[in-house]
Subunit: 373 residues, 2 copies
Amino acid sequence: MSFGIAIGARVRKSPYFDKTIEDGVSAFSVYNHMYMPTSYGDAAAEYDRLINGVAMWDVAVERQVSLKGSDAEKLARYLTPRELGALNIGQGRYVPLCDHRGTLINDPVLLPLSEDECWLSIADSDVMLFARAIAAERGYNVSIHEPDVSPLAIQGPKAVEVVADLFGDWIRGLKYFGYRETTLNGIPLHVARSGWSKQGGYELYLTDGSRGGELWDLVKEAGKPYDIGPGTPNYIERLESGLVSYGADTDDFTNPYEIGLGKFVSLSREDDFIGKKALTQIHADGIKRQFVGYKIEGEPLSAGNQHKLPVKNNESHVGFVSASGWSPRVKSNIGVGLIEAAFSEPGTKVTIQTDTSDGDLTATISKLPFDIA
Amino acid sequence: MSFGIAIGARVRKSPYFDKTIEDGVSAFSVYNHMYMPTSYGDAAAEYDRLINGVAMWDVAVERQVSLKGSDAEKLARYLTPRELGALNIGQGRYVPLCDHRGTLINDPVLLPLSEDECWLSIADSDVMLFARAIAAERGYNVSIHEPDVSPLAIQGPKAVEVVADLFGDWIRGLKYFGYRETTLNGIPLHVARSGWSKQGGYELYLTDGSRGGELWDLVKEAGKPYDIGPGTPNYIERLESGLVSYGADTDDFTNPYEIGLGKFVSLSREDDFIGKKALTQIHADGIKRQFVGYKIEGEPLSAGNQHKLPVKNNESHVGFVSASGWSPRVKSNIGVGLIEAAFSEPGTKVTIQTDTSDGDLTATISKLPFDIA
């Protein structure tokens, strides 16, 4: 199946949009009300670049929600179940967010910028609306808006060389989720050690959208000695690495414990946070489902199931596969998804009902990340 | 420019998804985290069906947010600046929603279902997250979720005949936004007199997603004598009719007064509602921008500007065009968008900076809806 995407002014465009077109983008999705490149037409080359070389990704869809004001930090702490301890400017933190029911509603990175401002670098849901409702109802002194910030990711084992050539060797000393404000040829940005892969890399948080084209060209030029090429958040690598994709892997009842984020929930925190009561109850009741890997038998599957695939034990529905495809490194079909806790032990056999002529396939539960063969 | 859309399990599929493919859908966008058909490849035929005949649209993306519990009505009243008076089961109401800053965050239809439940039939933003935050922080006794409800629109002057043939002549007596729960061949649904066009029509709110294919086929069969065919929310007709498209026409500073929805703001209400203080101030300060029509000179434009187009007076930026194209009925290029109040008077001349080889074009401000020639 192949369909076009409507391009118009309702869905927002990245500052790198025109450049991705010049570089041959072939497909988009929509994420945070913005076009997100998903393919440049050669999945094997894009995967290879990420695993063995270096790729540049337009991830401007990773929008920032700025919390600014004397209660910004107070709001950030109330929004997440994680115990943040001292916040350090220049060091980001992964902060799952829940609603009052204990359901995961986003899993951003928190970037403390100053005493009275931080950003939440979000996945695909309207965190800004949620945070504004909370702040206003609680009378917090904080203004919440989406600043002009558009990340460009440089990912893969050679990313560090490209970024060091651009900014200097200091970037090698950044810790994971560490970042620093700087400029490149006068273009304002933050360099962060981050990105949605386990292959290592950086994200350039451009803070002047009018200069996206310039930044794209500078990165492309600096990457030439390393054979840089365009790419997108990678469908197969994220499965291999067991990264959670909010919205794909989660539903309206997914709590952090189910999805492997229990370690970020601090029920022992003395201060209150959204979902504390519900999460305490969920924890006491025990986990009903768990996020697992599936090793799936059979001929190589084409990447990307169209629907969530039902997982069965005998004839009972016990879970689903949210994403699946052939992994060149695991040398097997693999997938991820939620399954009832009773079936989540690695080694357990289940049946996956594909939505293609592949029919029913046997799968074995695997820990995440997968072992690379 | 023509690009593919990534089809996968992260973005949700409508219960009519497979049927739209059978019927030749050629392009999608994403709306409320769900695929939305935007074209069947023949814009002229789709427009003609809507204006002169009858079309069926998959608008399952028009998701419902159910408010259920003893405080459901209290929450609904607090969420909207509109004075609702008595709510009547079976009669929907258009209820713009604002945040505490007075910015429009959605413009749903409210459907009261019972003493303790109503639905908000929403445009493209996560109203569910916002409503949950409000309800939880205020301690309201209400549960908020997205039910299994997927509207199928039947639009155009002959829609009434198709719907009467399916359900009986009682549907002719429904008032605008009126609805009734019923079944069709055992398929549960609500029939509503509504739809995102001014050509008249109905929406079938299917309440069992597993029966979407059946419903699609029944409507298609019943529509045959009237030459029904597939369509989508229509880009040109909505311009002619001056319908607001939330997200396309609005930004993060758009208040209801600017966008022609001031009549739904009741500052004199005795009870409190979200944004009351901000809207009172905005009203006292006077409107800075206004939603207007543009009659644009020059050769017929291809429908659909890619970006919001800047509107200039001499060299000053004074507004933008959010959507534009050739109208066969106005017999002119037309557009809609926000412009500074000083330039909003019908007849005012401005310059529109297109993003194509059409260059700068002269336009005249027009009232909405446009006069049909």
